[in-house]
């Protein structure tokens, strides 16, 4: 097939290697900054069955780095939007979308249907969950993580090698994600591509896989370093504490565009940025209460109005919604794109 000609003419791959790719089954957890390049290259390479797990929807702020999506994907579930794009890239493979959150209830069931599990998530909690489910189902975990300008890649639980818990045994859960602290757009592209490379090497059984090794990359200094680690049986055993527990349904945050917000009768806007934050916004019925003191100042928010929180980028306002709903047991809204959208419409 001419599609894979550039693979087939490589000595290390050939027709037999391409057959291995077409028979391989890989599931990617997270279709965000890392997941997009991983999915794109695995699909193009002809990996026969690809699963995509993601419960989140595409937002405008994702487009800076999540290269499978465009404006028309905004508001659509990421697993579904990625599947649509990837089916166009390669219609000869099977792509299965799981538009759901990975939990202790579905992880092992999903993992058992695949050969390789790719951790392209954005939080430590899910990374430990993926590790534990990989240990229980005896699957390799191709891991990557990014932080601002730095990234790491590793293959855990591969051929009796070290697991994620051997590398990072405890968590104080103080490690923020890209949405909270920012990330250079191209960085997850570089790191996700390295991750896809490890997946292909495992399937093709070629080269040196990052087994019991973590690769560190700094995009500012161009420094790559590889750190080795040992499998620690005590740490591996902790995967056994993976228990089926009831999953708390995620509280829903209702989000509005500025047009939708302005149409609401009795709307009352609350700016949750710090006092004096720029740019200033002129809206009718608007007060400032910084996120940190909402609980203390909740009496300043009129109960009878429809409350719409906004902030710089639409992240703090989501947190404000959860706090408000907890305290007042009443639905309210978050402005989807934050201050930038408001500024465009009201200060022009």
């Amino acid at each position: 097939m001419s599609r894979y000609l550039r693979h087939i003419i490589l000595d290390n791959i050939g027709e037999s290697g391409q057959k291995k790719l077409s028979e391989a089954k890989v599931v990617v957890i997270g279709a965000g900054g890392l997941g997009c390049p991983v999915l794109q290259y695995l699909t193009a390479a002809g990996v026969g069955t690809i699963g995509i797990v993601d419960f989140d929807t595409v937002e405008e702020s994702n487009l800076q780095r999540q290269i499978l999506y465009g404006n028309s994907s905004i508001g659509i579930n990421k697993a579904e939007a990625a599947k649509k794009r990837l089916c166009d890239l390669n219609h000869t493979i099977t792509i299965i979308a799981y538009p759901e959150k990975l939990t202790t209830l579905n992880a092992t069931t999903i993992f058992r249907q695949y050969d390789i599990i790719v951790d392209a998530t954005d939080n430590l909690e899910t990374r430990y969950l993926i590790n534990d489910a990989c240990v229980l189902t005896n699957k390799p975990m191709v891991y990557a993580g990014v932080y601002k300008f730095e990234g790491q890649v590793a293959v855990f639980n591969y051929q009796e090698g070290a697991t994620y818990r051997c590398a990072f045994p405890e968590t104080k859960n103080t490690t923020p994600n890209c949405e909270d602290i920012g990330v250079l757009g191209v960085l997850p592209g570089i790191i996700g591509t390295l991750q896809a490379n490890e997946v292909l090497k495992i399937i093709l059984e070629i080269g040196a896989v990052l087994r019991s090794k973590i690769l560190f990359y700094n995009s500012l200094t161009n420094r790559f370093s590889i750190i080795s680690l040992k499998r620690n049986e005590e740490a591996v055993k902790k995967a056994q504490c993976f228990k089926i527990k009831p999953v708390q349904p995620q509280q829903e945050v209702k989000q509005l565009s500025v047009e939708e917000a302005l149409k609401i009768k009795d709307a009352f806007f609350v700016d949750v940025r710090n006092y004096g934050a720029l740019p200033k916004v002129k809206l009718p019925n608007c007060i400032t209460i910084p996120l940190a003191i909402i609980e203390k100042k909740i009496h300043e928010i009129p109960e009878e109005k429809e409350i719409i929180f906004f902030c710089q980028a639409g992240i703090s306002s989501k947190k404000a919604v959860l706090t408000y709903q907890k305290l007042r047991k009443k639905t309210c809204y978050s402005m989807k794109a934050g201050i930038y959208e408001i500024k465009e419409h009201l200060e022009g």
């Binding site: 900054g33 997850p188 750190i227």
Partner: protein, 77 residues
């Protein structure tokens, strides 16, 4: 013992430097951590691992004076 230390990711931000020179009596990773926590109490709240000679070390392992690295997990994706 005097060891040059390299900080990565949010560990470098927490201590506000990329490189350091740590002096301490003792030889194990645990001895080093005790001194580091005294110098930078903020590190007590962070997850990280200690690596020397490109290997992650357990707390009871012995250090020499070669440069070591403090490596946190990266959560983002």
């Amino acid at each position: 013992m005097k060891i040059p230390v390299k900080y990565y990711g949010l560990i470098a931000e927490a201590v506000n430097k990329n490189d350091d020179l740590i002096s301490f009596s003792g030889t194990s990773v645990e001895d080093l951590l005790e001194v580091l926590f005294k110098k930078y109490p903020v590190l007590k709240t962070k997850d990280f691992q200690v690596a020397q000679h490109n290997h992650l070390l357990a707390k009871n392992e012995t250090l020499d004076e070669t440069e070591l690295a403090l490596l946190p997990p990266f959560a983002g994706g």
